[in-house]
C-alpha cells in the first residue's frame, strides 16, 4: 500500500491552484488538451510513427509553430486546420504540458 503524506498532497494542491487558469479550475487541463494530439503525436507526446514527438520540446517552440500553423506562415497538410481550433490560451497550456514531459 502506498501512503501519501498529507503535507505533500496539500503543497502540490496549492501549486495546482496557482497554475489554474481562466479556463477553469481543472488542474489537468494541459494533460487533457494534449490527449487531443496523441492520435498523431503519440500518448504523452511520444510518437511511435513518422510525425514528430512533442514530449520535451521547448514550450516556446511549440507555441511559435502552432501560431505559424494558425497564420498560415508554416505550410502543412493538416496542422493549419487543426491549430485554428485552439485558443491562444489553450496553445500556451498544451505547449507547457508537452515541454514538461520526458522525451523518450
Amino acid at each position: 500500500m502506498r501512503t501519501i503524506p498529507i503535507v505533500l498532497a496539500a503543497t502540490v494542491a496549492a501549486l495546482g491552484a496557482v497554475h489554474a487558469t481562466a479556463q477553469g479550475s481543472d488542474p489537468n487541463l494541459g494533460r487533457s488538451l494534449a490527449a487531443t494530439c496523441a492520435t498523431c503525436h503519440g500518448t504523452n507526446g511520444v510518437s511511435v510513427g513518422e510525425v514528430e514527438s512533442l514530449a520535451g520540446k521547448p514550450k516556446d517552440e511549440i507555441v511559435r509553430k502552432m501560431q505559424d500553423f494558425k497564420s498560415g506562415a508554416k505550410p502543412a497538410t493538416v496542422m493549419h486546420q487543426l491549430a485554428k481550433g485552439y485558443s491562444d490560451e489553450q496553445i500556451q497550456l498544451v505547449a507547457g504540458w508537452f515541454a514538461a514531459q520526458k522525451a523518450k
Binding site: 501519501i4 495546482g16 491552484a17 487533457s32 492520435t39 503519440g42 511511435v48 510513427g49 493538416v78
Partner: protein, 430 residues
Amino acid sequence: MSIQRRDFLQALGAAGFGTAAMSGLPGCATMGGGAGGKVVVVGGGYGGATAAKHIRMWSDGGVDVTVVEPNPEFISCPVSNLVLGGSKQIADVTVSYDNLTKRHGVKMVKDMATAVDTDKRTVRLAGGGELPYDRLILSPAIDFMWDKVPALDNADAQAKILHAWEAGAQTVALRNQLVAMADGGVYAISIPVAPYRCPPGPYERACQVAWYFKRAKPKSKVLILDGNGDVTSKGPLFKKAWAEEYKGIVEYRPNHVLTDVDVATRTAKFDVQDSVKADVLNVVPPQRAAAIARSAGVVTANDRWCEVDFLTFESVKVKNVHILGDAIQIAMGMPKSGHMANQHAKVCAAAVVALLSGQAPNPTPVLTNTCYSFITDKDVVHVCSVHQYDKEKKTMLPVPGSGGVSSAMSEVEGRYAFNWAKNIWADMLA
C-alpha cells in the same frame, strides 16, 4: 515523481484528502485516498480500449478497470479497406490486447455482456457471472438493423451478402469474393442513409476495390448505390478520384435507398430506383447503438442512439452509465469515427477519474477528428475538425474557421495516415 503522479496528487489534494474513501467507494482502502472504485468497460474498440488504458494511467492505477470483449485481438476498421484492395493483410490491422493487462493492469474478460442491471449496478455475461461496477462505460459500437433489409435477417444470407462493416472475418470473406469474381464483373456497394459508422468509409472502399480491379481485373466495374442524396464526406475529392484515377471503373448513383435484396441473384432493391444485380453485392445496412445499450436503458434518441452529457459522456437518463463512440447521438459535425471514439474516451476517462475522487469534471473539453481515406494504396485525403464545449448550448460545436479537407490526394498524407494508425493503436493498446 512522474508528471502523471503529480497531476494525480493535485487532483487528490484539491478534492480534500480522502474524499473518495469517505464516500465508501470500493478499492480506496488500497490506494490511501484519491480515485478508486470499479469501472467496467463493455467493448475493447477505439472507445473502450482507450478509456480503459487512460483511466488506469490517470488514476495512477487507483481505479480497478475490467474490459469485457469477446474478440481475442483488436481488429481495426480504419485501414481495413486496404485488405479489400489487397495492399494489406488482416494481420496488418490486428493488434494484441496483451499490453493493456501487462503494462496497465486492465483486467480483460473474453466474453459478451448480455444485460445491465442499473439499480444493482451489475453487468451480466453470456458465459455466466456478473461484474459489479461503480461506473459503467459502454463502447459497444453498432448493431445492424436487419429488419430494414428483411431477406438478410438470417445467418445464411449474411454469409453470402456481406457487410464487412466490422473488420475481421467479414473483411477477409469479402476480399475472397472479389478475388473469385471473374474479370468483367460488377461489385456494388449499398450505403445507408446517414448517420452511419465511418462516413467516408464506403467511398474509400469503392476506391480500394477499383484500385484492385484496375490492376487485376480491368474490365470490371464498381457501382456505388448511395442512400444519400450526395457523397456524405470529402465529396469533391472522391468524385475527382472516380473521374480521373478510376475513370471508366467507378460509377456513383445517389438516392438509392435500399429496401431489400434477393440473395440468390445478388440483386439490390430500392424504394424508387430500378433494381441492380451485381456479381459481388456488399450491403452496409442501417445501424443503431448495440443491444447492450438498450438493456441499460440508455438508447434515448429515435430508438437508435444514446444521448450523453458531453462533459462526462454519462447518459442523460441513467446515472453512472457512460457511452462512447458510434453508439452516441452525435453533436453537430461530429462523425461516427474511430478517431472520435478515442477522443470521447479520453474526455470520459478524465471525468470518471475526477468523479471517483470527488472532483468536478473538466468544464472545457475539446475533441479533434481526422479521417484519412486511401484513394490508392499510397495516396490519401483527409477531413478534420476541432470541437469545443459550448456552455450555453451544452454541446460540442466545431470551432468556426477550423478544420477542413486536403487540397488534393498525396503520398505525404499516405505516410501520415499510417503514422496516425500506429499512434492511435498505441494510444489505445500499447
